[in-house]
Amino acid sequence: MNKAEILIIDDEPQIRKLLRITLESNQYKVVQAASGKEGLVAAANHPPELILLDIGLPDKDGHQVLAELREWYHKPIIILSVKDSEQDIISALDNGATDYITKPFRSGELLARIRSAIRLGQNMHLQEPLITAGDLQVDLIARVVKRNAEIVKLTSTEYNLLALFVKNAGRVLTHQYILKEIWGVGYQSETQYLRVFVAQLRKKIEDNPNNPRHIITESGVGYRFS
């Protein structure tokens, strides 16, 4: 029974209603705001556990609302967006959004994103040293990766990349973010390295590298580990 409170900031009454019914039937408490202004006030009055923010708000640009929220609000913010706006999505993620989902979305997918965002938010400060994801086990202290209890030999860059993924499991990481974290400032546009390492890593950790279940490509945006 979770009673986590979720704030929905979306100008479309139909979408708000759909989200409210979906979330309430899954034991979340829902607060709604129909504009960016209302949303900022609601969040300040009673900080929720998670915020669902429509990036295409009419009154205040969704990006502006995100920036103002992030000045003091450190819990997960999931962006609702339309497809074909990768640039919007990337800039929201680079400016502190936890995750995004495109309309039209399936409610199952939305609930999964919400759960992993909340879990990620809670674990941010107490990172488990041993992470399990399906058949994979990553020991962040010993820097050892096991698949079905067998040790997987990784190069140091491959390991660093995988460690970054598992620490952010369920969350989409933009190309620029990954490149900066692994290769450092100045490498943000060198996506060719990322392509090669993701392909190598998939060969080592996926059952079927062509149909990966761990490292998922988010076209035009980045990668998501699950």
Partner: protein, 370 residues
Amino acid sequence: MYEKNLAYRLKTRKPDTSTQYLISLMLIVLVTITCYFLANLIGYREVALVLLLVVSILAMLFDIFPVLTAAVLSALIWNYFFIPPTHTFHVGTPEDVLLFLMYFVIALINIVLTSKIRNFERKARDKEGREKTITLYNTLINSLSHELRTPISTIVGAVDTIRENDTKLSEEDKAELINEIEIAGFRLNRQVENLLNMSRLEAGVLQPKLDWCDVNELMHTVIRNYRDSATDYKIYFEQNENLPLFKIDRGLIEQALNNILHNALHYTPKGSSIELRVFQSDSGCVFSISDNGKGISESDAAFIFDKFYRGARFSTGGSGLGLSIAKGFTEAHNGTIRLKNKKAGGAEFIIELPAKSMFVTDDELKDEQG
């Protein structure tokens, strides 16, 4: 079809007015000189007939004013050079005065009648052109409204049935109706996406965002997109291990390949095989999607990439936008898309993209065994 008609009209359009004057004058002068030397053989009255003939021919080809000018000029020339006494405008006999006036009247009637007939023809042609445009527009609106209204009807109808007959419906029926609503929703979404993409292309605002792409992975993604709808088909893709990375807009090319694969699934019978291939060319990379269906008739092949065009054999389904979007996205990369009927049967769509490529060497990766 309308465009063809337009092209035809452009080709047969009359020369501009000054050229018409020039040609008329030259023709009259030429005929006059010829007749001048022949005037001894043919009488001067017959010269009038020859000149009348020239004016009549001009009336069939040119506008009314150049022809009128030619008529007046030829009458004066005839009078001056041919009616005795020659080299004066004086007309000797009453017979010749009558002839001269008749010449004028006949030329005028000729000109006016021809011009009337031509006007009438032009109006008929314009009307035909307009009717063709209207027919095309109606076909297009019909196919679009069909594509949009069918899923909407499904949604509204299914919801109504569930609400009205809640107690009478079996759980199975209810689940099936809900499933139909879902399919309709995604179909609607697909059509809206197509229309948005089309308007992006039409507006000319499409700028490919080029980035390094692992094309093998791209192909697997395209196949995965259709995993659920392709269960009755055999899809083959052999990964090409010796490919470099290519600098392309992954999103646009994924959409183009999606649309071609969607078409292949839609227009070939269940159980068909579809093969995807990707390889390197001199200037970039080549994608190919082929099937073992019936192939595409020559009359369809000529128009298959045209907006709103749908194959003659197929009466329903499809907005006729998918392949024209694939073409638009390919061309936004300065690439080409073409269709080929395979000798063994079936159709093959080939996208060729000029693109930068690179192999990342181990050396460059500066990586060490951990």
